[in-house]
């Protein structure tokens, strides 16, 4: 039997095991929405297309499955760009369907036409314009395969309206063959042995683990074996948080611009650095020439282009993190060394650094409220079991520093692109995937207003996301930079005229709460957690609290500002 293109889209999604999608309809995608009408797939109607992409992204980060979003042509499609770029930078597998004007009209400046394939070429892993309904099922199969395999990433499929309406026999391909795409999963054993030799010769090794450890299933367990089995300390990137237990004695905390003292000191002084699924981003390395100056570098990554891109690597290992770590652990256990003894002095040194500068803040009794205290209380009262998303800026860094993540896929944050407005829709996506789990968005008063309309989505689907707004009345991170590096000239960073977030939540049918003093925090969080509906908590915090430590942009890691 022949199906329309629109029906083929839905049937293909079913074949891919998709049971939930995020989107917003429009004229050029209306046929697919018609086919969706009596399908078993659940659709979450967002209030802005950007949120659909972030929600699909949050869903993907929390589950490890490919997230799916659907929008119309023109403005619907262009509204996806920020979400796509966010997912692209952080290697998140999503497939986005955009409606398009009929093929005859493409290029005619038709109503709601945008060259979305052209626009999104640099911010997708790959994209497709489907011009023939007979190619549609194959294209969808390829899109899901490309999105989820190798180094994952977003894929966009542009669907002209006439292709949605045309008919074709539906047969979903069983496998994909792409001549130009063959991700390499198996780590080269010779390279692994070289790495093992190098590690055996080290006196002061450090493991630097990123998002690859989260995305490669089971890699976190191998990472733990590597650290524990061979007595090596671990630091995580922002994207890597949750890849190693946040309360483990071998854990150094996050490194980089807002990394801990001990993590940055360890990187500065190490003689072998083992990079795993991380990409030596500028927020991690600081001044490149002075990054890990005495170290030989091992780099495990599934993307060959990430290796020796920023930092020249001594032992590159291309492959899946888990496979590489499995082999590395094997190779290291074949070497007869008393690892604990070999690294004792080094670990003692690290313990001293840990004591020298502890992550800390001073919460005066009776206020003003400190954001770090709020996060610590959140951690305590959720027993570290929540899925936490963040917005971007100070809220993100405090969340990264003070919430101790110990499992993969529990921390959802826009690390690469740094997208304000990401956290709330991402939390909605994660909550849709796990209705029973506790999902918290740690937000700022600036960021939350960038996708605040999604309150309607959360309320209407009864997605009980909790949003902790750290409200300091500033675009706080920019203000911090202005204070530290621009002589306190607070140019356009004060947000004195924000809405009343409590009333706003109530207006949407959610619950709004507020805490202004330290002694209100615990009760307020408890009350929020007891509600089975979306809750905004307005934490009115000290206005000019800064995130420390801080390495100024472009400075070497040794130039940490500690207070």
């Amino acid at each position: 039997m022949k199906l329309t293109g629109a029906q083929i889209v839905i049937q293909s999604l079913i074949k891919e095991g998709v049971n939930i999608i995020f989107g917003l309809p429009g004229g050029a995608i209306i046929d697919v929405y018609d086919a969706l009408y009596d399908s078993p797939i659940k659709h979450i109607l967002v209030r802005h297309e950007q949120a659909a992409i972030h929600a699909a992204d949050g869903y993907a980060r929390a589950t490890g499955r490919v997230g799916v979003a659907m929008v119309t042509s023109g403005p619907g499609a262009t509204n996806t760009v920020t979400g796509l770029a966010t997912a692209y930078m952080d290697s998140i597998p999503i497939v986005v369907f955009t409606g398009q004007v009929p093929t005859k009209l493409i290029g005619n400046d038709a109503f709601q036409e945008a060259d979305i394939v052209g626009i999104t070429r640099p911010c997708t892993k790959h994209n497709f314009l489907v011009k023939d309904v007979n190619e549609l099922a194959k294209t969808i199969k390829e899109a899901f395969y490309i999105a989820g395999s190798g180094r994952p990433g977003p894929v966009l499929i542009d669907l002209p309206k006439d292709v949605q309406q045309a008919k074709a026999e539906f047969e979903y391909p069983k496998e994909v063959r792409l001549a130009g795409y063959n991700p390499k999963y198996k780590a080269h054993i010779g390279q692994v042995k070289k790495a093992a030799q190098l590690i055996a010769s080290a006196r002061r090794p450090v493991i630097y683990a990123g998002g690859g450890v989260i995305y490669s299933k089971g890699a976190n367990e191998e990472l733990r074996r590597l650290a524990e089995g061979f007595s090596m300390p671990v630091t995580n990137t922002l994207m890597g948080l949750g890849g190693f237990p946040g309360n483990h004695p071998l854990w150094l905390g996050m490194l980089g611009m807002h990394g801990t003292y001990q993590a940055n000191m360890a990187v500065i002084h190490c003689d072998v650095l083992i990079g795993i699924g991380a990409r030596f981003d500028d927020r991690v390395t600081g001044k490149l020439e002075e990054f890990a100056p005495d170290a030989k570098i091992v780099h495990i990554d599934i993307d060959p282009a990430s290796i020796s891109k920023n930092v020249i690597v001594d032992v590159p290992i291309v492959g899946d993190c888990r496979d590489a770590l499995l082999k590395l652990n094997q190779a290291l256990s074949n070497i007869n060394i008393d690892w604990e003894d070999k690294h004792r002095d080094w670990l003692e040194q690290i313990e001293e650094w840990k004591k020298e500068h502890v992550l800390s803040y001073n919460q005066p009794e009776g206020g003003p409220l400190k954001p770090q205290y709020v996060i610590e209380k959140l951690y305590e009262l959720t027993k570290g079991k929540a899925i936490v998303s963040t917005e971007v800026g100070q809220n993100q860094m405090w969340a990264a520093q003070y919430y101790k993540f110990d499992r993969p896929r529990t921390f959802l944050t826009s690390g690469g692109l740094g997208t304000m407005g990401y956290g709330f829709p991402a939390a909605i996506g994660a909550q849709a995937a796990f209705p029973e789990k506790l999902v918290i968005d740690i937000a700022g008063d600036g960021s939350i207003q960038m996708n605040i309309q999604e309150l309607a989505t959360a309320v209407s689907y009864r997605l009980p996301v909790k949003v902790a707004i750290l409200n300091n009345g500033y675009l706080g991170m920019v203000r911090q930079w202005q204070q530290l590096f621009y002589r306190g000239r607070y140019s356009q960073t004060s947000l004195e005229y924000s809405p009343d977030f409590v009333k706003l939540a109530e207006a949407y049918g959610a619950v709004g709460l507020r805490a202004t003093k330290p002694d209100e925090v615990e009760a307020t969080i408890k009350e929020a957690l007891s509600k089975d509906v979306p809750v905004f908590i307005d934490f009115v915090i000290e206005r000019e609290e800064n995130v420390y430590p801080m390495v100024p942009a472009g400075a070497p890691l040794s130039h940490m500002l500690l207070v």
Partner: protein, 167 residues
């Protein structure tokens, strides 16, 4: 250093834009670029000349390899290859210079392909150095217009990477 990179790509719309976008987006240079179908109409060959230090060239090749529609990336500067470029040059040919121009064209094994009362249009093929030398000589007679193809290249016979459908 200059590198000539040969790509086999799927012959579908947008592939050239992906390659060009990669270079502009990441700040790599393109000196010249040639695209045409191969024997297999589903596959095109892009020959591009770029420059950069070792690390940049390595990045360029890795990034090109990541593009889904690119089937094969070969750096012809790493292996023995034949490289050619063609140019059409419209040069002023005053009566007193005609004989001399023809002699130069002859020495360089070029061909005059169009003649008018005031101009010769000359076709010339060779590697980049030969073309440059030829152009320098013709400059003395005033070049009116020039069209260059950019480099095309193939590995020398034994190291060839085969196109599908080729013997």
């Amino acid at each position: 250093m200059r590198h000539t990179i040969s790509l086999l790509v799927e012959n579908i719309p947008g592939v050239l834009a992906r390659v060009a976008g990669l270079f502009s987006g990441r700040g790599f240079n393109i000196e010249s670029l040639c695209v045409a179908e191969t024997i297999d109409p589903k596959i095109s060959r892009i020959t591009l000349v770029t420059n950069g230090d070792e690390q940049i060239i390595e990045q360029i090749k890795k990034q090109l390899n990541k593009l889904i529609n690119i089937i094969k990336v070969v750096d012809l500067s790493e292996i023995e290859s034949v490289q050619r470029e063609m140019a059409l040059i419209k040069v002023r040919a005053a009566p007193e210079h005609r004989a001399e121009i023809l002699r130069i064209v002859d020495i360089f094994r070029g061909k005059v392909v169009d003649v008018s009362p005031d101009y010769y249009t000359v076709e010339i093929t060779g590697d980049a150095n030969k073309l440059q030398a030829f152009i320098e000589l013709l400059k003395h007679f005033r070049i009116k217009e020039i069209a260059r193809t950019g480099t095309v290249a193939l590995p020398r016979a034994r190291k060839a990477f085969k196109e599908k459908g080729e013997e």
